[in-house]
Symmetry: C2
Subunit: 239 residues, 2 copies
C-alpha cells in the first residue's frame, strides 16, 4: 500500500500569490465537505533572494533557499510538489534533481489546459498569445514548451513590453488597477490584433488587470495558476 | 546559533478557515516586501474525523490524524505551532505532549488580546461575553482560561444557543448571511444587555455575521484567529 497522496506547495514567491493559489485549489475541487478537499502542505517562506534580480544577473542566488523548501516538503511527506510562481521555474532543473517527489511544471500544466480548452470556432488553428514578463520570455519558459507541443504562439514586441505590459504590471503592483488594467488590456488586444486566438496570463498581475478592464477576454484566456491547481487535483485523484 | 524561526500551522479544520488565518497573518505583519512576511509551513490536510461529532461522543477519534500533522510540522522544522480552530483545542494536552515545537494556545492568545485591548470607559470592570458553540462551551475552553486570568465573563444561555446562536451559525454556513447575521447580532446584543462590555467571537461564523449585520459591535470584539496570528507574529519577531 502506498502512502496517501499529499500535494506539497513551494510558496513564498510571493506569499500572497501562494494563498491565491491555495484558494483556487479549494475553489476547483468541488468539495461538499472539508474531508473532500485536496490535502496540502505548504512551505510559505518568503525569505528567498529576489528571482527577477538574480535572472538579470545582479542578485544573490535564490536556489539554496528554494532547495531547503523542497527538502522540507519531502520531509513532510509530499508526494508531488507545485510551485505557484512562473519565474521560479527558471530553476526547475536543479529543483527537480533534488526532489524525491515529482515537481509539477507550471508550463506543462498550462499546455495541458490549452489543449483541453475549447478552441475558438475559426478556420485557422489556434494561436496562443503569451503575456509574460521580459524575464520569463528571455528564459523561453513558455516558448520552448509550446514549441515541443506543436502549438503556435506569439509574444509581445519589445515596444509592447516597454509601453504597455511593463508599466501596466507595475501599476497593478502599486494598486492602481484602473491604469494597470487598461495597459494590460491593451497588451492583450495587441496580441489579438496580430492573430492570437487564445491568451496565456503568465504573470499574476494580468488576471487582476483583465478582470477589471476587459473581463470579456477572460473566456479566451488560460491562467497558469489555475492550470497548476488542476494538475494538483489530478495528482490527488489518481492516488 | 539557533535555527531561524518558522511558524507551523496545523490546518485543515476546515481548509477555508486555514486560508483565512494565513491571510490575517499577512495582513497584520505590516510587511513592505515579500521577505518581511512571517515564514510559515502549513499542514492543510482536511482528512480528519469530525471534531464536533467526536466531542459529542459519536464519531471516530480525530487525535491520530492531528498527531500526524504535528509530527510532520516538526519534521519540516516548525519552531512553534498554531492551530486555527477553537474546537481542536479540546485535544491541546495530548497534541502538546507529542510536539517538540511549542503549540500556541488560541485561548491564551485571546486572553492576551483582551488584556491589551482598550477598555470601554465604564466605571465597572470589563465583562467578557463569549460567543461560542455548545461544544466549545461544554469543554470550558474559554471559561477555564478566563477564570485563571481573573477575567469576568458570561456565556449565552441555553435558550440563546437554541434560538439565536446555533441557527445563526448554520444560516451562515448555508451562505444565508442576512438571516445568520441578524441572529448572531441578536446573540451579541443579548450578552451586552446582560452586562458584557467586550465580546469574544470564538466561532468563525461570528465575525462574518457581525460584519454584515452589526459592524459597530466589531470594535468591542476580539477575534481569536487574529489574536492567534498576533501571537505567531510575536514568536517570529523574538527569533
Amino acid at each position: 500500500m502506498s502512502a496517501p497522496r499529499l500535494v506539497g506547495v513551494l510558496g513564498g514567491m510571493g506569499p500572497l500569490a501562494t494563498l491565491d493559489f491555495l484558494q483556487r485549489l479549494l475553489d476547483i475541487s468541488g468539495a461538499q465537505r472539508d474531508q473532500e478537499h485536496v490535502p496540502t502542505v505548504t512551505w510559505n517562506v518568503p525569505q528567498i533572494p529576489d528571482r527577477q534580480r538574480a535572472l538579470a544577473g545582479g542578485g544573490e542566488d535564490p536556489l539554496p533557499a528554494m532547495l531547503q523548501g523542497i527538502a522540507r516538503l519531502n520531509a513532510a511527506g509530499a508526494t508531488c510538489i507545485a510551485i505557484p510562481c512562473n519565474t521560479a521555474h527558471a530553476w526547475y532543473g536543479p529543483l527537480s534533481a533534488h526532489s524525491a517527489a515529482p515537481i509539477l511544471h507550471i508550463v506543462d500544466a498550462t499546455v495541458q489546459a490549452l489543449q483541453a480548452a475549447p478552441q475558438p470556432s475559426q478556420p485557422s488553428p489556434a494561436r496562443i498569445g503569451v503575456i509574460a514578463t521580459r524575464g520569463a520570455l528571455s528564459q523561453r519558459l513558455y516558448q520552448s514548451r509550446l514549441e515541443a507541443a506543436g502549438l503556435d504562439y506569439l509574444t509581445p514586441t519589445e515596444q509592447e513590453l516597454d509601453t504597455l505590459f511593463t508599466p501596466g504590471c507595475y501599476a497593478i503592483k502599486a494598486n492602481d488597477i484602473a491604469t494597470g488594467g487598461q495597459l494590460l488590456a491593451q497588451t492583450a488586444e495587441a496580441l489579438l490584433a496580430r492573430g492570437a486566438t487564445q491568451l496565456v496570463m503568465a504573470c499574476t498581475e494580468v488576471p487582476i488587470g483583465l478582470r477589471h478592464a476587459a473581463p470579456e477576454l477572460l473566456a479566451l484566456s488560460v491562467d497558469p495558476a489555475t492550470a497548476l491547481a488542476q494538475a494538483c487535483l489530478r495528482h490527488w485523484r489518481q492516488g
